[in-house]
Symmetry: C2
DNA sequence: CTTTTTATAGCACGGTCGTGCTACGGTTTT
DNA sequence: AAAACCGTAGCACGACCGTGCTATAAAAAG
């Protein structure tokens, strides 16, 4: 059955396995052996697609960024000019919060990679890219509401990151409803209200 | 020189070494060997004070909580009834932000332990305690300003955690001045203003 | 049919880690 | 003086990790 497989597809499957392992047990558990087991492959097979362990992790990190970008882009294309700007912003900002189980896993993976990037130069640039991306989106959203203060952008970004962090670390104490309530409160308190 | 040493003092020195290692290289680097080298001891000596690796980490985590509590308590005792409530709250909330180099290291250590606690049951209760503590303080601060909404408490807690997170991960993009500006903006936008 | 390519798997080596255990010298106690 | 204690250090073992390398068999190319 060797050549019938689409390499791109296999790579995606392995990356998916990385996500599951990281979400479940943290980035320390994302060893080649654990990922191989999770993917139902042998270590040597995983290494056929990712030459080294760092390469596997950076590929997974890049895929995570790609997913977030895709979700934001999809959400943007769903926009209608007649939509209430408030709701548009709320919906868009919610894309960064763990409002359902799938996003909860994704946020957990994001947190693991972001923190690892603090001390791992290999992941540094990807984390910086994500950091900058959130600020760009936040700035655009505030623009839409007539707010241009860069401090307000940082403020919104901090709330989103803080909510995501707390929801990932204490999912039992911070459900989707609470996340939405805090986000709504934040938007209500914007000066341009 | 065996018996002349105060055991408590030695334990504190070792924990200090753990802090330095974690702040510099992340919790993955907090191995017995690395900590021993950092403390200028042999692995066997470290194990004389901390029977196992988990015990060393939980002791360090507990010490971190103790320090934060001590700083909050010290700040509270410095209060004078005639102080401006606004400034009091700002000063107290600032205790949770990396406004100087010492606090930056402490925040980095906090972040590492908090994230590790997500997947390490050993650290779980300590992280939960810290999480709850921040909300208690935040709630009391808002009370002082006439705000009693629990959602506002969660909002303030999210901002503080988010700022600390971002400052720890991207210290070059988020200096103390920006942190203070965002915190001030947050307090200005409270409904009770 | 033969050759090349590729997906999968496995082995072996060097390194690191946590930990059980022992050794030794200086201190305290009897 | 002898015995018990404690701080410090080191060894050895089993486990796991990343990685260089090789083997095999199926598919593709010639």
């Amino acid at each position: 059955m060797p050549k019938i497989v689409d390499p791109e597809e296999r790579r995606r499957e392995v990356v998916e396995a990385v996500f599951r392992v990281v979400a479940r047990g943290g980035i320390r558990q994302a060893t080649l052996q654990n990922v191989a087991v999770e993917a139902g492959l042998a270590v040597g097979s995983v290494r056929h697609y990712f030459a080294s362990h760092p390469e596997l992790l950076t590929a997974a990190a890049r895929e995570m960024v790609r997913r977030v970008e895709a979700r934001v882009r999809a959400q943007r294309e769903r926009l209608r000019p007649e939509d209430d700007p408030r709701e548009v912003v709320e919906e868009m900002a919610g894309q960064f919060l763990p409002l359902d189980a799938a996003r909860a896993d994704e946020v957990a993976v994001w947190l693991e990679f972001a923190v690892a990037a603090r001390t791992d130069p290999t992941l540094g640039s990807i984390a910086a890219e994500l950091h900058q991306g959130l600020r760009t989106v936040a700035g655009r959203l505030l623009d839409r509401l007539g707010v241009t203060d860069p401090v307000a952008t940082e403020h919104l970004a901090a709330v989103l990151d803080g909510l995501a962090l707390n929801a990932a670390l204490h999912p039992d104490r911070l459900g989707p409803d609470t996340l939405r309530a805090v986000l709504r409160l934040h938007l209500e308190q914007l000066p341009g209200a």
